[in-house]
């Protein structure tokens, strides 16, 4: 029998171009999260850091140890969680496991990345280092995988190019109301469709920016949560799955098996199904990924996500609001922080604390994608009783 896992605190730093380095970003979010929950640092038993590449980006390793010391969480058990872009979601999975198993009664999860001091070319190459040698030597990047898949999707489902642009327009519009977002500026469809080509048929506004930032969540058993607050969320279900390392070995690149399988696990553990989800944060590192996750998670039939988007179903006032935070597209994508920041948004939504972004939500879902669907974590959260 597992313990019900509660989330009793959440925080995120300003996302964007920051002067702070990764150790400082992690400490900023971690301290704010403990403060939000009213929990003393010495109560933290496990301290996890979601981070993809602090060693490669700035020559800083051992970040969980550094964070625990900076926050005075000693002698908490520490662990780094690296699952590339889904490190944050994997951190939520690890934190959930730590509480559900009884190994910890207070787990602090902090995700963070410092990236903007690197050139776009360098940052892109660090991220692309996750690829197989037969891919890497051809100069494949994650954006080029997106271009390859977008062409296949648009061609295969006779979807209009404009539908992808509308994902960018929607998520930028949502980001205006997120004070932590890197871009708080609306863009119109014409601007998106006329922006420079990055990976044909995708253009600049189909891609998320390079970002510095950090986010944090505090987990404990639901029985203990009530000692701290009446306002907490519960992890209703979580799932994680892996697809092929070599992307071209997938029989259909427009179906992300990791999304499908992680979603299936999360639905099964929670007892919910796609119709029960009131709000979702999807990993829109590229606009095409929002379509692929909508379909993989059962929010739209295969080949129909573009139509649901065109019909306004995913707008903030739509049937299923997606990326109310602005998504990675507008909020930014500090690799290890992004999955945790998705959790932050769902936490705020189910507790009714999302301010101008608030939608009517009892149950929310976050889907965090690593690589090009190589690793995926899906988490379902609801308000505590």
């Amino acid at each position: 029998m597992t313990t019900n896992v509660a989330v009793i605190g959440a925080s995120m730093t300003q996302f964007g171009q920051r002067d702070a380095w990764v150790r400082e970003l992690l400490a900023e979010a971690g301290a704010a999260c403990l403060d939000d929950a009213g929990v003393d640092p010495e109560s933290v038993e496990h301290c996890y850091v979601s981070n993809m590449a602090s060693g490669e980006f700035e020559g800083m390793t051992g970040v969980p140890n550094a964070l625990a010391h900076d926050l005075d969480c000693l002698p908490a058990y520490t662990q780094r969680v690296d699952q590339t872009s889904s490190s944050g979601g994997a951190g939520m999975y690890a934190a959930w496991q730590s509480i559900a198993s009884g190994a910890s009664e207070m787990t602090l999860l902090v995700g963070g990345e410092k990236m903007t001091h690197r050139s776009t070319s360098e940052a892109t190459d660090i991220i692309a280092s996750l690829t197989h040698p037969v891919e890497y030597k051809h100069g494949v990047t994650l954006p080029s995988f997106a271009g390859l898949t977008a062409r296949l999707y648009l061609d295969g489902y006779d979807a209009p190019r404009e539908s992808l642009g509308k994902v960018a327009v929607k998520n930028h519009k949502n980001g205006v109301d997120n004070p932590h977002a890197q871009f708080r500026k609306e863009v119109d469809l014409e601007t998106v469709l006329e922006s420079p080509i990055v990976a044909d048929p995708l253009r600049l506004y189909d891609f998320c920016p390079i970002t510095d930032g950090s986010a944090a969540l505090l987990f404990c058993p639901e029985s203990i949560a009530k000692e701290y607050t009446d306002e907490y969320a519960v992890i209703a279900g979580v799932g994680g799955a892996t697809d092929t390392h070599v992307v071209h070995e997938r029989s259909d690149p427009t179906t992300m098996n990791g999304v499908v399988e992680s979603g299936r696990q999360a639905y099964e553990r929670s007892g919910y199904d796609p119709d029960d989800i009131d709000v979702a944060e999807l990993h829109d590192m590229f606009t095409i990924l929002e379509f692929l996750q909508m379909e993989g998670l059962g929010f739209a039939e295969p080949g129909k996500a573009w139509k649901a988007t065109e019909d306004g179903r995913t707008e903030r006032d739509g049937e299923l609001p997606i990326n109310t935070s602005g998504g990675l597209k507008s909020k930014g994508h500090p690799l290890g922080a992004s999955g945790v920041a998705q959790g932050y948004e769902i936490y705020k939504q189910v507790l009714g604390e999302a301010g101008p972004r608030q939608v009517d939500a009892d149950v929310g879902l976050a889907c965090n994608v690593g690589g090009f669907g190589n690793c995926v974590i899906t988490t379902i959260m609801e308000a505590g009783a």
Binding site: E56, T120, S121, E122, T124, D125, I126, A128, S129, H132, P133, V134, E135, Y136, K137, H138, G139, V140, T141, P143, S144, G147, L148, T149, A150, R151, L152, D155, P196, I197, V198, A199, D200, P201, L202, T244, V246, V247, H248, E249, P253
Partner: protein, 140 residues
């Protein structure tokens, strides 16, 4: 190296070994499946039993893109495609650079050897950790 599929209807009328170029080596497994690159076991768990030189075959374009922002050591624009070979009825996919952007889905392409696809010294990956030659795809 073995060339198990010479004489296939889709094979190219040349011997890539004749000019000293290495093969585009895929792995065949006991269950008949083939992957490029090879793995210690097939997706279904079957053991490797041999190799197939894909450079002897033509392929069709599954999808393609032109990247205008390639990583260090790669010339811009970088044209890329996922292609599918038909090795005696067994599909095998590969990804690689294209020699041109004058291409479309379902076009037929042939592998063309390049001694260096990318400057090994320019990127983050340790140059000695992998090979840097390989095959681009050229429209037939």
């Amino acid at each position: 190296m073995s060339h198990e599929d010479e004489g296939s209807a889709t094979s190219v009328d040349r011997d890539p070994d004749a000019d000293g170029t290495p093969p585009m080596e895929a792995t065949r497994y006991a269950d008949g499946s083939i992957t490029y690159p090879g793995h210690p076991v097939a997706p279904g768990g079957a053991e490797p039993v041999g190799t197939v030189d894909l450079s002897e075959y033509t392929a069709t374009v599954v999808t393609w893109t032109t990247s205008t922002a390639p990583p260090p050591g790669v010339d811009a624009p970088n044209h890329l495609a996922i292609v599918e070979f038909d090795v005696d009825g067994e599909p095998v996919r590969a990804l690689g650079q294209l020699t041109t952007d004058e291409i479309g889905i379902d076009d037929e392409v042939t592998p063309v050897y390049a001694a260096e696809l990318r400057d090994p010294e320019a990127g983050i990956r340790e140059p000695e950790s992998q090979d840097w030659d390989g095959y681009r795809f050229e429209p037939v």
